[in-house]
């Protein structure tokens, strides 16, 4: 089959690789009909996440049609159209039973690596380094789905692939980020990063009752989308001082909740950004917490800092004194996607939220290398790329 394969930093290629096979009773194989390139994939593309190996198949946002089932999967049939959550979760351990699906105890065969790094392990993730299990990803024609009985979710026929694809990751991620803000009537929620995650966090915050939503970025087309589709006020951080602008927009209080939808590769300018860039390049610091520092400074007293953006190691100069003095609540983590499939599917079916507006590029699977470059450089107004294995190369829309 064809698959998007990691060959090194800034080097992905579409290769012919062996088809996946059923290895365990609870496995399934699906034929992928649509997959997305995620901001998280860029951390792999830019070589920020350790333990990637040449030959690894990428992709953790994908959906498709069931073509093969292990003997242990009885709640689905061949031919079913399904979405697949990006965390691989067993459904049986204490964490899964608590709804903490992305903290599954059992699904990461390399759990000892994460234990060494972080003190404990998280769930395996499709196509996301050997730290997260070394599983083959779904930017491919076929993919093996472990624990398919809990890891696949049937899609109503009347919904298109593009309407439901983002249930696999970024819609639940934006939603969980907003839910973590414990939003109350009258709240203002500020979101750093108007990429797919940030945009869907804004949509979700509004749905959960925020009175004002503010989006922060530097790309005009992304700020425009935040204004038009998410009814947000916006701040271009290259034109305005973010903390000051937020101060003015909230009567001097600061936002009630701040969401970091930027993560470890935050962009910045000036001395502070140069400091983090140099340290990250020399591997003295694994993450660049430029946005996160701002969030903490800007957030109102007693407010919440919600962090869906990915961090992978150590950060410097965290304003811990500010966290303490202002009594902030910090919430973070990989998304417990399984938990949100039913409720968010309902929102899509009822038309309450449509997430497909973020798609700017539809490309053939074979054009993925160009897609990664485009998305990484944020060229050509690129906000979200979806890859379709049945499109002919070059036929991108």
């Amino acid at each position: 089959m064809k698959a998007v394969v990691w060959h090194g930093k800034h080097n992905v290629q579409v290769d012919r690789v062996p088809d996946p096979q059923i290895l365990n009773p609870r496995d399934a194989i699906i034929r992928v009909t649509l997959s997305g390139i995620c901001g998280s994939d860029l951390h792999l593309y830019n070589g920020i996440v350790p333990t990637m190996k040449e030959g690894d198949i990428l992709g953790h946002e994908f959906m498709g049609v069931v073509v093969e089932l292990g003997s242990g999967v009885t709640n689905l049939s061949k031919g079913d159209r399904v979405v697949v959550p990006f965390p691989i979760s067993c459904g049986d351990c204490w964490y899964c039973k608590q709804g903490l699906w992305s903290l599954c105890d059992n699904s990461n065969p390399n759990s000892f690596l994460l234990e060494k790094l972080y003190g404990d392990t998280g769930a395996g993730i499709f196509g996301y380094s050997h730290l997260y299990g070394g599983y083959a990803g779904g930017q491919a024609e076929y993919v093996r789905v472990p624990y398919a009985d809990v890891g696949m979710h049937k899609v109503p026929e009347e919904l298109s692939d593009e309407q439901v694809l983002f249930l696999t990751d970024i819609f639940p991620t934006g939603y969980q980020a907003a839910e973590n803000c414990s939003i109350r009537d009258g709240d203002t929620v500020a979101v750093w990063g108007c990429g797919p995650v940030g945009l869907l966090a804004m949509k979700s915050a509004q749905h959960l009752g925020a009175t004002n939503v503010i989006g922060i970025d530097r790309f005009p087309e992304r700020l425009e989308m935040a204004k038009r589709h998410c009814d947000a006020e916006v701040i271009n951080y290259e034109e305005q001082d973010v903390t000051e602008a937020l101060h003015h927009m909230t009567g001097g209080r600061g936002p009630d909740a701040c969401i970091d939808a930027v993560g470890t590769e935050a962009h910045g300018s000036g001395m502070e950004a140069a400091y983090d860039m140099v340290k990250q390049t020399l591997r003295l610091e694994s993450d660049r917490p430029i946005a996160l520092r701002q969030l903490i400074r800007a957030c109102r007293k007693g407010g919440t800092v919600s962090i869906p953006g990915v961090y992978s190691g150590f950060v410097d100069k965290m304003p811990m004194g500010s966290v303490f003095a202002k009594g902030l609540t910090l919430r973070a983590g990989q998304t417990h996607v399984h938990r949100y499939l039913d409720p968010l599917m309902k929102l899509i079916v009822s038309g309450a939220i449509d997430t497909s507006f973020i798609i700017t590029h539809r490309m053939a699977l074979e054009d993925a290398p160009a897609g990664y470059r485009l998305f990484n450089e944020k060229k050509d107004g690129c906000i979200k790329i979806v890859l379709n294995p049945r499109l002919a190369s070059g036929a991108s829309a």
Binding site: P20, Q21, D92, W94, D105, F112, P146
Partner: protein
């Protein structure tokens, strides 16, 4: 230490009451014994009579052992660890499994299940009511075999076995099954002690001994947890054939 010496020491019956518990082990016994006894009393007041009693008895025994350097349990078992404790290697690992103590116990008590999660075990064959034959495969394909007997068996609580006869790699193991607080399942504590052979005979056994590490047993226990909780072991293997 000569292999034969180690074997004979483990097999030796204690005739008189003397110190048969090594130094570090005595201190550990004092602390551990007190904790166990207190937990036992707590369990009792929490009306978990059986485990409570068992823990108090065990705790009391360890306390006694810590103070006097004498262990009734070891004497009863004919085990003397006072000198070979230095040569012996003790590995202790812990894991919590989301199943009841009885369920975990039953799976483990069927010793023939052990190779399904212990990577270095090739087979365990039950040969009698309390006896079994073990076959391990180590690095570079070396194999080591031995006979073992079950020395203590408290359903849902504790299993203790040890190798018998002229084992090339004398060893003993204890598994404790404890109910975890709340709805968290079973806390499993696995202690494995083995006596690596010296330079003399048993090169295979020495290689095998090197392969038994805490990290490896932790991995084994993770597989056990996966099997008991999910019915299969996690793998991300890729297919190589076209």
């Amino acid at each position: 230490m000569e292999l034969t010496e180690a074997v004979s020491r483990i097999g030796a019956r204690m005739k008189s009451r003397k110190v048969n518990v090594g130094h570090t082990e005595r201190n550990a016994s004092l602390v551990g014994g007190a904790a166990l006894a207190v937990t036992g009393i707590k369990a009792l007041t929490g009306r978990r009579y059986l485990p409570g009693l068992a823990m108090m008895v065990a705790g009391g025994m360890f306390l006694y052992r810590g103070k006097t350097g004498f262990c009734g349990l070891y004497q009863a078992l004919g085990v003397d660890t006072s000198e070979n404790a230095a040569g012996g290697v003790l590995i202790e690992t812990f894991v919590t499994i989301n199943r009841t103590p009885q369920q975990v116990y039953e799976f483990w008590r069927n010793l023939e299940n052990l190779p399904s999660f212990m990577r270095h075990l090739e087979s365990v064959e039950v040969t009698g009511e309390n006896t079994s034959h073990w076959k391990a495969r180590g690095p570079a394909g070396v194999t080591v075999e031995w006979d073992a007997e079950m020395v203590a068996d408290y359903p849902g609580q504790l299993i203790l076995w040890r190798s018998t006869g002229e084992a090339a790699l004398p060893n003993e193991g204890t598994v404790e099954f404890r109910e975890a607080p709340g709805d968290r399942g079973t806390e499993l504590k696995v202690s494995i002690r083995y006596y690596p052979p010296g330079d003399g005979p048993g090169k295979a056994a020495a290689k095998m001994a090197n392969a038994i590490t805490g990290a490896q047993i932790e991995e084994d226990l993770k597989r056990l947890k996966q099997i008991l909780e999910t019915g299969e072991t996690a793998t991300a293997e890729r297919t190589n054939n076209h």
